[in-house]
Structures are given as structure tokens and as C-alpha cells.
Symmetry: C2
Subunit: 326 residues, 2 copies
């Protein structure tokens, strides 16, 4: 949650004048998204989100993200829809930064999730995977298995200071993951960051998905594994099998999971836990002590990884391969 | 700009249910206000601001702030209007914090101000002073002349590290201000923090004033002096006499400034510069190095203080006592 770049009214008015969305009535920097600066705009035409892309997002990737949101919205997925200016462009520049205006999605992200939310997320994730199937662009996942060891190498010497045993555990885990990572499962567009703060609800109903700035082309079942990590653990970091079952069962009602995908789930879940463990570790080690914005603890994902390492089969996540593929 | 306290959907829905503003459709933490956590709410009844009062705001002062906004709004001033719940209360509790819902004001604060904005602010400030005249509550200004030396004493030994000569300059200035501070000028409700980010415009027209959480009972002309500091200097910290003249002339068209008030302006402006210099100094010294949120520099107000120390009379601010009181 951050506003990194502020925007002057005069600059924003010039930018807005290129769009058919009326005059600007108000705008507020909002605490949403960790990679970019986001503003809620109110214009004569309604409410929109203005995103200024900060340095952590590569400019070369922006056409993929913008194109993907357009593609998914056109296929009926509730996600922010890029608004085009009068020249037909969805990507512009404000305050020296690449910028885009997208439609505003009503709804709220759930700070406390239950099994119904998990079911809704499973369904929406499968819909996303199906809707993305004919998206023509691709983007490699820099944070997949090949990307983990360089991150680890950069902070291995300091990892034990965060959590005793972390250095050794992750070293062994990387050896395991690099050897066992499933390479032949169905690929496609994945969200890759579908955490609770990126899923909006109105009442019990899922109203939309946001923040496609980690989206990429990768193993679809890996996206499911990320969601198991993000949605199905309790505050005390115990795995909630009811939530896991709800998520997986709802997913497969929309898109079938093959036996190979199901059997790979424990390894994929270990990989997902390792990925978030490593990026959180980097953030943790690189924020100065006493900073006002505390990064999220890597220990949470260390404990989730420990859980997945004990898992014997997909059954431990709440479903049987048989009932899912039946 | 900060969201210090996050709020769970479930807790907010329970809170909202006590009001006649329909169901919650969305809420976003916004980067507005430095003392409190602010959320933009969208409900079936429209848009509102939810403020959670953090520890820096004394709970005992909240009835003054809420009462003042109600009072001013009832007298036609464009400011946030507290919304009462079904029990008739404007002050409640969310996430363990005192909280209030106020109406949403359209408009934007100007990052770059010109003389027209300064004229509009002068007029609005005078309207605020008149509208506040019959407000029955009072609140002492903890950040007036008596409050400055304790702040200085707490950081005098480190002040020279921020700006060479600061310790000695402020020590002498406090001696001067304590001896010369005008005590018999008209008193009333002052905003005490009417900086550009607390004044909204739609086009050239001032659309509202916000953030009454420094408001108190004090010398009215001191509020004018704060605005001269906040609005009438350029980026290079040179005083813009055209802006100063616009602000003062517009003010007196609504509320006359007496000769005593005008003659006191140089001292009041020195006091205002000292007040912001000191609070910024404290913030500057107490934020850890490398923190993600940089406090504002105290040096800006050191240079403004230097300017005011050279001022000989109200004429140096852009107006003559004669033309103002004629």
C-alpha cells in the first residue's frame, strides 16, 4: 500500500482531457497495490482507477498486462477494464511515469476469509484460466523455479538471522524443487498473486479480481497452489482442509484438474511457499530498521513450506484425485 | 498521508449498519491526513469519508472537532459534515479506535498555487472566522507561543545537525516571540493548518476546506499569518508579494483587519514560521534514517522565518494598513 508518485491537478487534467470521461471532480491516492501508485478518480463519467507504474514494473511488460485485462474483461471476467483515450491507446504518461486508467470495481477484499470465499476464488481462478486460454501474448514468469536460486543466493548469508534454520532449509528445498519441478503440465495465463487483497466481494459474492501485475505464462496448477497458500491457512498458520477442499472442488467444476496436475500439487505448493518466502525475505532484509512501512514476515511462508513438506498426496489438501477427475 | 489502522469488512459493515446510508459497496484507505486513518467509503447512499482517530489526536478533543464541522457546515461553509447514526451520534468506534463518518467533498488540492488560489483562500478563511464566531465550544491551542519552548527544549541539542545555526536562531526567536507576542487581538475559532492540501478547488473555484484537527481558539490574525506562510512563498522560498496581497485583500473584503492586527502581522508570521519549523524539526529528528515516509524538511520554515525577521511592516506583505482599514 503506497503512493510513491504524487500528481499535480494541472498535469492530471491535461491527461484526462485526452479521454472521453468528462472533467475531473476529485482524485485521491489510495492504499492499494504495492508495486505502483494508485489513485481513485472521480470524473463526470464516473469512477476510475489511475495507475502510475513505478520502477519495479518493467515498461516492456505493460502491453501484456493491459492487453490481458482487456482480453479477460471482453470474455466476461470481472476485472478492471483499461479505458482507451481518443487515440485508442490505453497506456499514456503522467508525472513522467507510464500510466493507465481502468474501470472501478465495486467490492471489498476480505480480511477474514471463510470456506465460501475460498470456493468463490477457486471458481474465479478456473474462469480466469479458461478466459486466458486464447490470449495471444506471453510473458515468462521471472519468479518461477529458475528465478528462485538467484534470489536465495543474494540473501542466504543473512537468512538465518531472520529465522534459525532458514538458510539450510531453503538450500535443500531448492535442490528438491529444481529436481522435481513438474515441466509438462498445462500452461497458460496465470494471475500468480491472487491473494485476498486482490479479490473483491460484495456480500458473499465475488465481484472482481484486480492487480494483474504479476500475471504471466506458467503452469496453471501452480496458480492453484499459490491460492492454497494464500487462502487456506488460518491465522495460526494451520492448514484448513475445509477451505482447501472448497477451493479445489470449485475450481474443478469450471476447469478439470488432471491426475498429473493433482499429483503435482504438493510440489507446486512447496514451490509457491518458497517463492513467497524468498521475495518476502528480500523485502524484509532490505527495509531499514524502524521504517514506517513494515514488510510482511517471511516466517509465515517458512511455516507453510514446512506444512507442504509433510504432505503425502493431494488428499492432504482436502480432495481425492479420484473424486476430482471423476 | 497514511493508513495506520486497517479495518475488516465485517467490522465496517457492523458500524455502517448503525447509519442510514445503505449497504457498503467499497472502501479504500486514502493518502489524506497525516494524523488519522482515512477511508473513502462508497455506500448505497453515496460517498463518504471514514476517519479513524489515531493516538496523536486526543479523544477529549473529538467533540470539539465534530461540533465545529457541524457548526460551520450549518452556516454554509463548505466543509465535511459529520453524519449521525440512528442514535443521533456522530462519533463511534471501529477497530478499537474512535471513528466518524463525514460527507465527501468534491475537489482537488492544488500542488501549484497562484494568486487566484490565494485570493480564494483569504476569502474562505475570513468566512470561517465569521462562521465560527458563535461556536460555543473552546479549545486551547497547544501549539501557540507557550507551547513552542518545550518543543524546542526537547530537540535543541540536535537542531544544529539539521541546519547550521538553527539552535541559536530559534533560541533568540523564542525570546523575541515570548516578549512581543500580541495578546489583545480578536480571538475565535481558527483552522490553524490551512495548507494547500486542506483546501479543495474545482477549476478556479474553491470547493471546500478539510482537516479541522488542529482547529482551536486563538488569535484570528494568527490564522492569516499561517496562511501567508503556507500559500505565499514560491518553490525557491522567495515571498510572492502578489499572492500575499491577493490573500490579505480578499480576507478583508469579508472580515475587516484592524490596524492592531495588521501591525502585528510580522510578529504573527514569525510565530507561525517558528511553529511549523519546530514541529517539522521534531518529526525530522524522530523518524529513523531510511524510513519510507520522509517527513517534510524543517529548513523550509527556517528560511521563511528569516524572511519574516526582515519584514518591517505589513507593507512588505503586499498591502498598506491604510488601504485595508479604509
Amino acid at each position: 500500500m503506497a503512493v510513491y508518485t504524487d500528481v499535480a491537478v494541472e498535469d492530471l487534467e491535461v491527461f484526462i482531457a485526452g479521454y472521453d470521461i468528462g472533467k475531473l471532480l476529485s482524485y485521491k491516492g489510495i492504499a492499494e497495490g504495492v508495486e505502483n501508485s494508485n489513485f481513485l478518480l472521480h470524473t463526470e463519467a464516473g469512477h476510475f482507477i489511475l495507475t502510475l507504474y513505478e520502477k519495479r514494473v518493467a515498461a516492456a511488460d505493460l502491453p501484456f498486462f493491459i492487453g490481458l485485462m482487456e482480453h479477460l474483461a471482453a470474455r466476461g471476467l470481472n476485472c478492471p477494464q483499461p479505458v482507451k483515450n481518443r487515440k485508442g491507446e490505453a497506456l499514456g504518461k503522467v508525472a513522467g511515469r507510464p500510466a493507465a486508467i481502468v474501470t472501478f470495481l465495486e467490492g471489498m477484499w476480505m480480511r477474514r476469509t471463510d470456506a465460501r470465499h475460498c470456493a468463490a476464488v477457486g471458481e474465479a481462478l478456473a474462469q480466469l484460466h479458461l478466459a486466458g486460454a486464447d490470449f495471444p501474448m506471453t510473458r515468462a514468469n521471472a519468479l518461477s523455479v529458475e528465478g528462485w536460486r538467484p534470489i536465495y543466493d543474494a540473501c542466504a548469508d543473512r537468512a538465518d538471522g531472520v529465522q534459525h534454520g532458514l538458510t539450510e532449509t531453503v538450500a535443500q528445498e531448492l535442490d528438491f524443487l529444481e529436481a522435481k519441478w513438474p515441466r509438462n503440465l498445462p500452461q497458460g495465463v496465470i494471475h500468480a498473486d491472487l491473494f485476498p487483497d486482490n479479490v473483491f466481494f460484495l456480500g458473499d459474492k465475488l465481484s472482481g479480481l484486480i492487480d494483474f501485475y504479476f500475471a504471466c505464462t506458467d503452469t496453471l496448477a501452480y496458480d492453484v497452489a499459490i491460492c492454497l497458500n494464500a487462502w487456506c491457512f488460518e491465522q495460526d498458520l494451520s492448514y484448513n482442509i475445509t477451505k482447501g477442499r472448497a477451493l479445489l472442488q470449485s475450481y474443478r467444476k469450471v476447469r478439470a484438474l488432471s491426475e498429473a496436475e493433482l499429483n503435482a500439487m504438493p510440489v507446486l505448493a512447496r514451490g509457491a511457499a518458497t517463492r513467497f518466502l524468498l521475495t518476502r525475505l528480500v523485502d524484509w532484509l532490505n527495509v531499514p530498521p524502524g521504517a514506517l512501512v513494515k514488510p510482511k514476515s517471511p516466517q509465515e511462508y517458512f511455516r507453510k513450506l514446512r506444512f507442504h513438506q509433510q504432505v503425502k498426496s493431494i488428499g492432504d489438501y482436502g480432495v481425492e484425485a479420484r473424486e476430482l477427475t471423476a
